[in-house]
């Protein structure tokens, strides 16, 4: 199957042959080369766009991943808070109750003093209206004492109310000094008249509050007993 003499002759003759291409052949090739050269930069730009888009996606992905991480960390924190809340929430929940409950307690000595002062003045003047006021004051003191009893029992149950108690005590001391100063300056009759009005309102409010509070405590106690 080796190439024979005739094939060798064919090869020599064909390899030595030249065929002149048409005149337009180079122009066509030139045009094709120009088109190819114009396409090349576009390809480069497209690759750049693709690379930029890829980098952008990577950055967005990283950003979202970080956000998810933070969310997970936050969730973890919240879970820990939720776990610790049952201990801490008790004082927080009771704090708003404690403040208004404590305030009248701290005020009562002042009011007792006022009542005492009023009785003294009443004795001096011998006015029967002041006796009525005295009785009213005594009733109020009794009511406040009644109101204090459940407060104390609640305070015994609570563990972390110290800060609020301290604040309430400080407020009470401040109000004491203010009231003392007012006692010195304010007229007794005007004070009595204002206290009269206040007593009526506060008495109603206090009684309503104590009733509602006692009802709540009883209700919760019954509910707890049922649960237990």
């Amino acid at each position: 199957m080796e190439p024979n003499k005739r094939e060798e002759d064919f090869r020599i003759k064909l390899n030595s042959r030249t065929l002149q291409p048409s005149e337009t052949a180079w122009d066509r090739l030139d045009a094709m080369l120009s088109v190819a050269e114009e396409k090349k930069p576009k390809r480069r730009f497209t690759w750049l766009y693709i690379a930029a888009a890829f980098i952008g996606f990577v950055f967005v992905g990283l950003f979202l991943f970080d956000q998810q991480k933070n969310n997970v960390e936050l969730n973890e924190n919240t879970t820990t808070i939720v776990e610790s809340n049952p201990v801490q929430e008790q004082p927080e929940a009771s704090a708003p109750e404690a403040v208004p409950e404590k305030l009248p307690v701290s005020v009562t000595p002042v009011k007792i003093k006022e009542a005492v002062a009023m009785t003294n003045t009443g004795k001096a003047t011998g006015n029967p209206e002041i006796r009525v006021e005295k009785n009213m004051a005594k009733e109020k003191i009794n009511e406040e004492m009644i109101a204090v009893v459940p407060q104390k029992s609640i305070q015994k149950n609570r563990v972390a109310v110290n800060v609020d108690e301290l604040l309430a005590a400080v407020d009470g001391n401040q109000s004491k000094s203010e009231l003392k100063k007012q006692n010195v300056t304010v007229d007794a009759n005007s004070l009595l008249s204002t206290v009269e009005g206040e007593l009526n309102t506060t008495y109603r409010e206090n009684t309503f509050q104590t009733i509602s509070r006692n009802f709540k405590t009883v209700k919760s106690a019954v509910a707890n007993r049922n649960k237990e």
């Binding site: 199957m1 064919f10 090869r11 064909l14 390899n15 065929l19 002149q20 066509r28 090739l29």
Partner: protein, 171 residues
């Protein structure tokens, strides 16, 4: 310079090699215009792939290989070639005739061969490829390549004999 798309350098390469390469393309394709189209496409590949030339062989050989490959792929795209799988082939023949054929006659004889025969004959007898290489290039077995060559030779021989008889008859 031609690597950097210098058109003057490219034109120089083109004008130096185009006539020979058009001849190569013409061996595989019967129509000279079609051969020119394929040559232009192959030159495009030459210029775009110029930086891939490794300077191991001759530059002309590299261009020629591109031309041949382009011709084969063009023929295969135009119509699928059916290579007969029979592996019986005749030894010899086509050897004992005094060679007075012109290049035009040779081209005429080759043009009359079927596409498969013509490709294998050109690749083996003119380009000097081995049957193994031809098999890889055309996607056929080595035996098929050999059988295609023997059939091509037989057909050429018949044509030459017929031509000779015709000439003797006219004389």
């Amino acid at each position: 310079m031609a690597v950097e798309n210098n058109r003057h350098a490219q034109h120089k390469i083109y004008s130096q090699h185009a006539p020979k390469m058009l001849s190569v393309c013409r061996q595989y394709l019967k129509d000279v215009h079609q051969a020119e189209d394929v040559m232009i496409t192959a030159f495009m590949k030459v210029f775009t792939g110029l930086k891939n030339f490794e300077h191991k062989g001759s530059f002309e050989g590299w261009i020629r290989r591109i031309m041949v490959n382009e011709c084969i792929s063009h023929i295969r795209v135009q119509k699928p070639i059916k290579f007969s799988e029979e592996e019986t082939f005749l030894e010899g023949g086509f050897n004992n005739i005094e060679s007075q054929l012109s290049v035009e006659d040779i081209q005429f004889l080759i043009d009359n061969l079927p596409d498969g025969y013509r490709m294998v004959f050109n690749l083996y007898a003119i380009e000097g490829y081995k049957h193994q290489e031809i098999g890889k290039m055309l996607g056929i077995s080595e035996g098929t390549s050999k059988s295609q060559l023997s059939h091509a030779r037989k057909m050429l021989q018949e044509q030459i004999n017929r031509q000779k008889n015709y000439q003797n008859g006219t004389e």
